[in-house]
């Protein structure tokens, strides 16, 4: 790989711009896609969409297409104890984490080093963050004032994973409140609650693990997800 290609790849990553590194396997020649009019464009778009590297044949040549997508985002609402356990685990999975909590005593950089803290109210914060199909939203506060507006915005978005901490009873009353806001059953079924895979989690790190296990299962289309 030439220093120019490496630098261009790093710049795209820094700018959170999705790119595909194409390598002609016979020679090692490399291109950074998209390039307008390239015969590789269609295959490159597919690689990005699926987020899967692949070898393709184009014009009797084998090319390896390696997508470099910006990281998946995880929006965590509630700078609580479980979030403290969840954030570093999620970062280790290569996920970009944003923690929303307007309560200053919770959302401190001492409790959450090396993560983006957003002190806005969840509805304003979510409106600004604009969750898309590469975003997951998890609410952890148990407080309707904070969780509900975040879930309302998440349901109006294409977020691929929406999880909400709380017992079955808490979750049932939460769904009733969201229904009153105009969300139908199909929409409400997108919310994972009680959140996480059932692994009998007890401690905060265990609960964080169960939530992230479910997040991975959904992201990777696991049968159990």
């Amino acid at each position: 790989m030439t220093p120019e290609t490496l630098a261009a790849l790093a710049a795209a990553r820094e700018a959170k711009r999705p790119v595909v590194l194409a390598t002609r396997l016979a020679t090692g020649e490399q291109l950074l896609l998209p390039i307008e009019g390239s015969p590789l464009t269609e295959a490159a778009d597919r690689a990005l969409l699926r987020d899967e590297a692949a070898t393709v044949s184009v014009g009797n040549e084998e090319w390896f297409l390696h997508p470099y997508s910006p990281p998946v985002r995880l929006i965590v609402v509630g700078a609580v104890h479980i979030a403290q356990a969840l954030v570093p685990m999620a970062a280790h999975l290569g996920v970009e984490v944003i923690v929303i909590d307007p309560r200053r005593s919770f959302a401190t950089s001492e409790r959450f080093p090396n993560v983006t803290l957003n002190g806005e109210w969840p509805d304003d914060a979510m409106d600004a963050l604009r969750p898309d199909s590469r975003t997951a939203v998890i609410t952890l506060t148990h407080d309707p004032k904070l969780d509900d507006p975040a879930l309302d915005r998440a349901l109006k978005s294409d977020a691929f994973y929406i999880g909400s901490l709380g017992s079955r009873k808490t979750h049932a009353s939460r769904l009733a409140r969201l229904r009153a806001l105009g969300h139908d059953d199909a929409a409400l079924s997108r919310i994972r609650g009680p959140v996480g895979l059932n692994i009998g989690a007890v401690t905060a790190p265990e609960i964080a693990l169960s939530i992230l296990a479910e997040f991975v299962a959904v992201r990777r289309n696991a049968q159990s997800g």
């Binding site: 390598t23 899967e52 590297a53 692949a54």
Partner: protein
Amino acid sequence: MSETADILTQAAHWRTEGEEVALATVTQTWGSSPRPAGSQLAVTRSGRMAGSVSGGCIEGAVAEAAMMTLDSGTPQLLDFGITDERAWEVGLACGGKLKVFVEKLA
């Protein structure tokens, strides 16, 4: 959820330290290969390694090939699999088959 970007970052960092660095990338797999296409292993001349292209079965052979690419500057496309006698030597016990592209970071 991409780990390859971070291996590339590590490789680039080693390069700025003045290391000679080779990058190995899984380009294709068949059967029960443990790591998908796109998985990467960065290797330096001095023997530092980051990432993986298998469950540990072929990293040694890939690192060896990487030294040749560092010497020559020429990329290689390596084949590992049950039809390849070399796979037995390096112990690809999973029975999978894969191709690995090895290049030098210039």
